[in-house]
C-alpha cells in the first residue's frame, strides 16, 4: 500500500465515521417524539428509522460532486483539507451528543470544511456570499418557519378533535405519528447520506482518482448508505431524550403535527434547492408544537441552550477543522493525517467512555425530565 493509498483510506474511513455520527446524532429528529409519546417502542423506532434512512439514501442518484459547491473554491481543496474538515465535524458532533444537544451535523461538516480551507488557502478560498445565503440565512429562518407551521398544526388538531375521546385520539395520532416520522427519516436519508457521498467524491476528485464533475461511484453510495443507517440504528439516546422529553412535554397529536411540519419544510425546501439542517427544522417544530397547545410546558431554557450551540456550531467546528489542518500539515504528509486520526479516535473513545458513567439508553430514555440529561436512577421496579 503506497502512502497515498493510506492517506485516501484514512480520509474515506473518517468520512464514513462522520456519516455514522451524523446518523446517530440525528435519530432524534425523526423519532424523538414517537418515542416520547409511546407511538413506537424505542428499539423499534430506531430500527425503522435506520431502515428508512437506508432506503432514502438509495432513492436519489443525483449526487452532486461537491457538498462544498458554492461555499469554497473547490480547486483549492486537497484530501488533507477534507480530512481536517471531517475531524472538526466529528468532534463537534460527538461533543454535542455528549451534552445531549441536537446540533446540526450539516453545519458541523460545513464549518469544519470552511475552517480547514481557511487554514490551508486563506480567506479568498471561501465564498462568503454563498455561506451566508445558502447556510446562515436558511438556518435562521427554517426553525422559525417549521415552528410556526407546527404551532398552527397543533392548534388546529386540538381544536378539531375536542369532542373525541382521549383514548381514541391518543391511539389515532400515534398511528399518524408513525407515518409522519417515517417521512422525516426518509427525507433525512436522502439529504444527509448525500452530503457524505459528496465529501468522499470531493476527496477523490481532489486526489485525482476521479475526473472533476464526476458522480459518486457505486461503492461510495453503498457504504455511505450503510454507515448512516447503522448510526441511526445505534441511536443517539442522549439527543433523543433531550428532544423528546427535555424541550416540551409532548403528546401524540403534538408529535404528529411536529413531524408533519418537519417533513413538509424539509421536502419543500430541498425541492427549491436549499439543503436545510434536519436538526434545526425538527427542533423548531417540536418547540412549535409546545407553543400551539394551550397549557403545554415549554422549557425555554433548554431551547436557549440548543440555540446557543447552533450559533457556535460553524465557528467551533471550523476552529477544530483549522487546528486539525495546521497540525496535520505541520507534521506533514500521510504521517500527519495518521497522527490526527489517532488523536480523533482517542477523543471519540474518551467521550464514549465518559458517557457510560451516566448512560442514556433505550431503557431510560423516557424517564421523567428532572432538569438533567441523564435520568437519576429510579428505585428498582419503579421505571419501565
Amino acid at each position: 500500500m503506497s502512502s497515498n493509498d493510506l492517506l485516501m483510506t484514512l480520509v474515506v474511513v473518517t468520512a464514513l465515521s462522520f456519516d455514522f455520527t451524523n446518523g446517530f446524532h440525528d435519530t432524534g429528529n425523526a423519532m424523538a417524539t414517537s418515542i416520547a409519546t409511546g407511538a413506537l417502542p424505542p428499539r423499534v423506532a430506531v430500527a425503522l428509522s435506520g431502515a428508512l434512512n437506508l432506503v432514502g439514501a438509495f432513492l436519489s442518484f443525483s449526487v452532486a460532486a461537491t457538498i462544498a459547491g458554492g461555499l469554497v473554491q473547490s480547486h483549492l481543496v486537497t484530501p488533507t483539507v477534507v480530512f481536517a474538515g471531517l475531524v472538526g465535524g466529528i468532534l463537534w458532533n460527538l461533543a454535542t451528543w455528549y451534552f445531549g444537544i441536537p446540533s446540526s451535523s450539516s453545519h458541523a461538516l460545513i464549518g469544519g470544511v470552511i475552517g480547514s480551507t481557511l487554514a490551508a488557502a486563506g480567506g479568498h478560498a471561501v465564498l462568503w456570499h454563498g455561506v451566508v445565503s445558502k447556510v446562515i440565512l436558511p438556518a435562521v429562518l427554517s426553525p422559525v418557519i417549521a415552528g410556526a407551521i407546527a404551532a398552527f398544526g397543533t392548534y388546529l388538531v386540538y381544536r378539531l378533535t375536542r369532542g373525541v375521546a382521549q383514548g381514541v385520539r391518543t391511539r389515532g395520532f400515534r398511528v399518524g405519528q408513525i407515518g409522519s416520522a417515517s417521512m422525516v427519516s426518509l427525507a433525512h436519508g436522502t439529504n444527509d447520506a448525500q452530503k457524505t457521498m459528496g465529501v468522499i467524491t470531493l476527496a477523490l476528485i481532489a486526489n485525482g482518482s476521479l475526473a472533476a464533475g464526476h458522480k459518486a461511484p457505486a461503492w461510495v453510495i453503498v457504504s455511505c448508505a450503510l454507515a448512516i443507517s447503522l448510526g441511526t440504528y445505534v441511536g443517539g439516546w442522549r439527543v433523543i431524550r433531550a428532544l423528546g422529553k427535555g424541550l416540551v412535554e409532548i403528546d401524540s397529536p403534538q408529535g404528529m403535527a411536529a413531524e408533519s411540519a418537519s417533513a413538509a419544510t424539509i421536502l419543500l425546501s430541498s425541492s427549491f434547492g436549499y439543503s436545510l439542517s434536519t436538526t434545526h427544522v425538527a427542533t423548531g417544530s417540536i418547540l412549535g408544537s409546545g407553543v400551539g397547545r394551550r397549557g403545554a410546558e415549554v422549557r425555554w431554557s433548554v431551547a436557549g441552550r440548543m440555540a446557543t450551540a447552533w450559533v457556535l456550531t460553524l465557528p467551533a467546528a471550523g476552529l477544530v477543522g483549522a487546528l486539525a489542518y495546521e497540525a496535520a500539515h505541520g507534521i506533514g504528509g500521510t504521517a500527519g493525517v495518521a497522527v490526527i486520526f489517532v488523536v480523533l479516535v482517542a477523543c471519540g473513545l474518551g467521550l464514549y467512555l465518559n458517557s457510560r458513567r451516566a448512560p442514556v439508553t433505550a431503557g431510560n430514555v423516557n424517564d421523567e425530565w428532572t432538569g438533567s440529561l441523564a435520568p437519576t436512577p429510579a428505585p428498582v421496579g419503579a421505571a419501565a
Partner: protein
C-alpha cells in the same frame, strides 16, 4: 428578491408548508373525529344503551380524509425521488 435571499421561494415554502405541514394533520384530525361518535354528555348516555355505531357519512368522510393524507405522502415520496 435579491441575491441574499430568494423571497419567492421563501413565500412558497411558507404557504405550501402550512397547507401540507399543518393542513394534513388537521385533515387527519377531521377523519379521526368523523370515525368516533360525538361525545356529549347526552349521547354518552345514549351510547351505553345501544352499541355505538359510526354513521355512514362519518365513515365516508374519514375514508376521504385518510385517502387525501395518503395521496399527499405518496406525492412527497415522489418528490424525493425526482428532486433532491
Amino acid at each position: 428578491m435579491n441575491s441574499w435571499i430568494n423571497l419567492t421561494a421563501l413565500w412558497k415554502i411558507v404557504v405550501v408548508g402550512l397547507l401540507a405541514g399543518a393542513g394534513l394533520p388537521a385533515l387527519f384530525a377531521v377523519g379521526l373525529r368523523a370515525l368516533s361518535p360525538a361525545r356529549t354528555a347526552e349521547s354518552e348516555r345514549a351510547q351505553r344503551s345501544r352499541s355505538a355505531a359510526t354513521s355512514p357519512v362519518g365513515v365516508t368522510t374519514a375514508v376521504l380524509c385518510f385517502a387525501v393524507v395518503l395521496a399527499a405522502i405518496g406525492w412527497g415520496i415522489y418528490s424525493i425521488v425526482n428532486h433532491s
